[in-house]
Symmetry: C2
């Protein structure tokens, strides 16, 4: 049943995404093609699904906030497109398909990323349901999470840490930027737009902190245990790039135990919430058990 | 006297810019250093000066809107950092200094650009003077101008047009995206934040359309007539990259006449405005006569 929820949410979001990017003229079409190539390449859509689930928990209709859901996925997609570039992770495949720069060239991939990022902010301003103050709060939360204090900062730190052994404390700073910030923003977006009270907000922020960490630990584990078929990309990239990971620092078994523990903390965080948290709860176990 | 205005405005803006980017932790410092390197590298600061001049014309204190002025320059700087990359224009020098990727490497330059762009949106949300609706209108205007419908679209079209002869009509589309959109946004930002009436708005949008076009024609002329000392970069890059320009399509003399004509149209657009437009008027002649 939760699987059905995920599948139908993914479909809803991909339906919305397929409509957002239309070239204003003939001349700009190749750029839009490149942006759409990466945006429509599947993936779990976990960030907009998180926002959607929080909105639903707060009895809001996610369709009324579709611009925000699409914006989260545009930002996530831009980060992947830039991350895959030769000057960064230099990946040829993503989700079983050629990466953006392998199809459109490096210059166009840089611009497609830039375009997706900028368009995300435009999208959020165009929503008709949220109040102006809610929109400002949402944009602020997303920009802070995606920008130099958050995702871009974590990304830069990650790049500079290649070939270096870093201690667990620094690995946590790295991931709270690189992955955690956007996870938190997805949840916070739902809380802002759903006008959640402060008790719910603080409980769900604890939840999303755990969820982001959990997601990253599992990512590190899958890079060791996953297959190319499951992952849609070659496993072992962390080892090849000599990156410190939860597995390299803790060992595989301890990393698995840590993931289970953090998952439990995420469940605990939901306990105090008076809304129906069954979807958010199932999401923890889904991320814990995922194979891609 | 107008020279003094420009110099003091540039100083004001650089003072503001020097304060915006501070790393939240030790780990992210190299990213902030790379962002600040390009942000503090001088330049005309013409975009925030335009917004500032419009705000002053409307009797607003630009200091109350400093986040928007800084945001415009962050976005302009990001576009230069990405534009200079090997996969794009492949420039080693900018304003007489090494380009960002020559100092910090390509990966960091990509992230510095991403960081500057994202931070610009965060900055705009943090302003304390504008109303929430004004902030939303401003962010929408800036995002649309900077994104795939505007600057990024023009940039992509420019890249694909290298080595191709394109007709004047397409060159106009290219430049209205690549340069014009951000010029227009600078003026519109001032109009939105200064609560300008519709007559003033429509006259100044005509003005800024002309100003953006004028700026680009002069840019094309300087690429032929300028020296490396004046430009701070090697002239002739358009010819080397086989780009269509106003000079290659019209010839040098016609391009100069066209610039003068468009400058006159910009002056005409100011005629109907009941505010003091002396600064905006002097700006036209400054851009017409600039040598860098």
């Amino acid at each position: 049943m939760f699987k059905d929820y995920l599948a139908s949410s993914k479909q809803t979001i991909e339906q919305l995404l397929s409509q957002v990017l239309t070239s204003p003229n003939q001349e700009f079409k190749p750029l839009y093609e490149s942006m759409n190539y990466s945006l429509m390449q599947g993936g779990k859509r976990i960030r907009p699904i998180l926002s959607k689930a929080v909105l639903e928990m707060l009895h809001k209709n996610p369709a009324d906030y579709k611009e925000f859901l699409c914006a989260m996925e545009c930002i996530h997609t831009y980060s992947l497109v830039h991350d895959d570039l030769p000057a960064m992770d230099n990946d040829d495949y993503r989700r079983g398909n050629l990466t953006n720069h392998k199809v459109y060239g490096e210059g166009m991939a840089i611009l497609a990323g830039d375009g997706l990022l900028t368009y995300a902010f435009q999208l959020m301003t165009e929503n008709k349901t949220a109040t102006p103050q809610q929109k400002i709060d949402a944009i602020q939360c997303v920009a802070a999470a995606a920008g130099p204090e958050g995702m871009v900062g974590g990304q830069a730190f990650d790049m500079l840490s290649e070939d270096n052994h870093i201690p667990l404390e620094e690995l946590k700073v790295l991931h709270s930027g690189k992955t955690g910030a956007l996870f938190n923003a997805s949840v916070k977006l739902g809380l802002i737009l759903g006008s959640a009270n402060s008790a719910t907000t603080s409980a769900l922020m604890k939840y999303s902190n755990c969820l982001g960490l959990l997601f990253q630990i599992i990512d590190d584990i899958l890079d060791v245990t996953g297959t190319i078929e499951e992952l849609g990309k070659t496993p072992g990239s962390d080892i090849r790039q000599h990156k410190s990971t939860y597995v390299s620092l803790l060992g595989l078994e301890s990393a698995k135990n840590q993931a289970t523990l953090v998952g439990q903390q995420a469940h605990d965080a939901l306990d105090s919430i008076s809304y129906d948290t069954s979807i958010l709860s199932a999401l923890i176990d889904y991320l814990l058990e995922r194979t891609n």
